[in-house]
Assembly symmetry: C2
Homo-oligomer: 412 residues x 2
């Protein structure tokens, strides 16, 4: 299928993706306008558009109002022509979304997490879930482009996670992409939660900043970076690991092997521990739920929970400042399940820190926003990863993983 | 002149720059090989090469050994066809270099710094210096492409520095680029010391890392970032400001308005203050000289100076780790005058920290090296900035500054 299909020339795939993305972004657009916007010849546009129509990805949507001369035929995306599945794999829960080519979410659901189960069992469970739901919502399996799987970083395209939080030790070096490709028959793109969330944020639109980061807080803290519409990945696709920078040389030990990490000082696990120490009563059903309890109490104005969260917010402010200074950002978006719950308590602290301490504040400000997709940002990002690879290959997921997908048969 | 010349189409300038850069990188290369390497048509290569030869930038260097058929004419760069001037403007000293198109330094000299002099006087002094030395070393002024001026960040392309260390207050918002263009008649590119040093490092060759940072320590601390051969600039060309991230929420106040900054804890000024507190006797002729005195004593094995520098090195290690985590780096190069003096004391600490705390260490290591250009890295970078804009426009200095240069008459 299109750019994931073996045998398609790179240049053709790239012009096809660029034209498809222009049509998506424009809503409706004529061939003449495409010629102008791309710089391709009219003949190239005509050939590529013909092929996109034949493949069902684009439809002719009637003629524009005449401005004299023959009115132009308008083209638009057929959003239901293709679908992508996004999976957010975490120990506490697995979140799924199915998105169509237009980026609309047509299904979203959540199942129990990986827990301490054998990774092979979890992979079989994921494959069965996807098969069942694709059938239930009536999506033609032939139209599913691929699967974007999102997990805590750091990851490697071959083996999946190379370093895992203690609860997911069994996944270290597990060949996640290959196992899921075997189990689902779908090409698999792999990325970490924060990077996927940034892609999802960009994809869902409205981002005008030339440089922005999604600051992601689930049970851990990470970030995804997009500059000039392109994901910033670094040498091994693990850029943005802001949760494990050191902000206190004498700080507490972190599961990552370092000490004084932002995650160890300000992440939900640290917040829960600090709350317990302050005598706050918690249900004790895991960090996510306990964190939510603290956030609700703080929102009601209770002093002790507020103090605990404000301390976390100060460190998150430092994380935002560090990202802004290193990357010269214009926008920081707070996202992920923990900011979905407590984001409004963090925003004022992060804003204040950036206003006071962002180094290039003489040049421009750094805006702070909460994502409207915060609770399922990672799964939405997984689907966006696949759509992105279809529409704009150079912004796609981890390169090696895409290459791998290209070598695979594309049948579903 | 070439890409700095007004009226040249962007596409032509870009293919010309790409071909010129290929010839430079190859040493010698034939037209057929250029066709293969670029994907341009033989006709385009022929036209562009003819123009490069006419302009004196490229010469025919004899025929390759025959492999049957007519031996191919080899092309090579004429390094003395063009020159670039690099100026590193600092309060303690102004360093100048003249580099030729091949990147060789044909002159380097140093003069007293800006001190507290009126910026207009300093600009006049710089223009006179350049004029005199260009004449003295026998460079044809018509062959000087431009001037790359490097100063402490953050900077803005229009006004120069937007936030300055206390000693250079008079330069805040001074229209540096415009004043120097008026005074020298040369197009001026502006950048901060650390970014320029990174470009110079990349330019001087041998960098194979896909993502690297130059960690620069002069009197302040900063960094320049290059990924896949392209400078990472961020939204306003102030990316890499690692000296002003917070690593201690309760740390000392910094001149930048924040507190607990790496520069305030580990920069030469902080090192000198800590040494004084530890009772180490210092000449007291400015931070740079005092820092050098401490470094020499530490190199002789004296305990107190060693302790003071090790503490600084721990924080520099944190800076390197932060850069590596956020950017997923493969290489950190220590450069600038302070690392030129004390770098070998810092390397083991930085290496140890990265080996232990770089988050994606399961994927790859991060190498640490000292620049061979460390003392004059910023000035060399200033010249590289200009050469880079001639050879590979998309990697050039600050965009707005280049645009500005394009609007200027190109006469020297």
């Amino acid at each position: 299928m299109s750019s994931l299909q073996p045998g398609l020339g790179a240049a053709h795939a790239s012009s096809r993706a660029a034209i498809l993305d222009l049509i998506r972004a424009a809503g409706t657009i004529s061939r003449v306008e495409l010629t102008r916007a791309t710089g391709f010849t009219a003949a190239t546009i005509s050939t590529v558009v013909r092929r996109l129509i034949d493949d069902g990805l684009v439809v002719e949507a009637g003629r524009a109002e005449s401005t004299g001369g023959k009115p132009r035929m308008l083209l638009e995306l057929e959003p239901y022509a293709r679908f992508a599945v996004g999976v957010h794999l975490d120990h506490a829960g697995i979140t799924y979304v199915i998105a169509n080519l237009g980026g609309a979410i047509v299904a979203r659901w959540r199942r129990p997490g990986a827990g301490s189960d054998d990774p092979r069992e979890v992979v079989a469970r994921i494959a069965a879930e996807i098969r069942a739901t694709v059938a239930r919502v009536g999506v033609d399996p032939q139209r599913v482009l691929g699967l974007g799987v999102v997990s805590p970083g750091p990851i490697s395209p071959r083996t999946g996670m190379t370093l895992t939080p203690p609860v997911m030790q069994a996944w270290t070096e597990f060949p996640l992409a290959a196992a899921l490709e075997d189990a689902t028959g779908l090409p698999v793109l792999l990325d970490n939660d924060a990077t996927a969330a940034a892609i999802g944020e960009y994809w869902s639109g409205g981002i005008t900043a030339s440089a922005f980061a999604a600051l992601y807080m689930g049970t851990g803290i990470g970030s995804g970076i997009i500059v000039d519409g392109t994901v910033f990945r670094g040498a091994s696709s693990n850029a943005g690991e802001i949760g494990h920078i050191c902000v206190d040389l004498d700080g507490p030990e972190c599961w990552c092997g370092s000490a004084g990490c932002i995650e160890a000082l300000a992440g939900p696990v640290a917040v829960v521990a600090a709350a317990r120490e302050a005598g706050i009563e918690l249900p004790g059903r895991g960090a996510s739920e306990d964190f939510a309890t603290i956030a609700r109490a703080a929102a009601r104005g209770e002093e002790a929970p507020l103090r605990v969260l404000r301390r976390s917010a100060r460190y998150v402010g430092v994380a935002a400042q560090t990202l802004a200074n290193v990357l010269d950002l214009e926008l920081v978006v707070l996202t992920g399940p923990s900011f979905a719950i407590a984001g409004s308590l963090y925003v004022p602290e992060v804003e204040a820190r950036l206003a006071q301490s962002f180094f290039a504040r003489g040049n421009h400000t750094v805006r702070v926003a909460i994502s409207s997709n915060a609770p399922e940002a990672a799964a939405v990002g997984g689907a966006a990863l696949v759509l992105q690879s279809e529409l704009t290959p150079r912004q796609a997921g981890m390169r090696m993983s895409v290459d791998r997908a290209l070598e695979m048969p594309s049948g579903v």
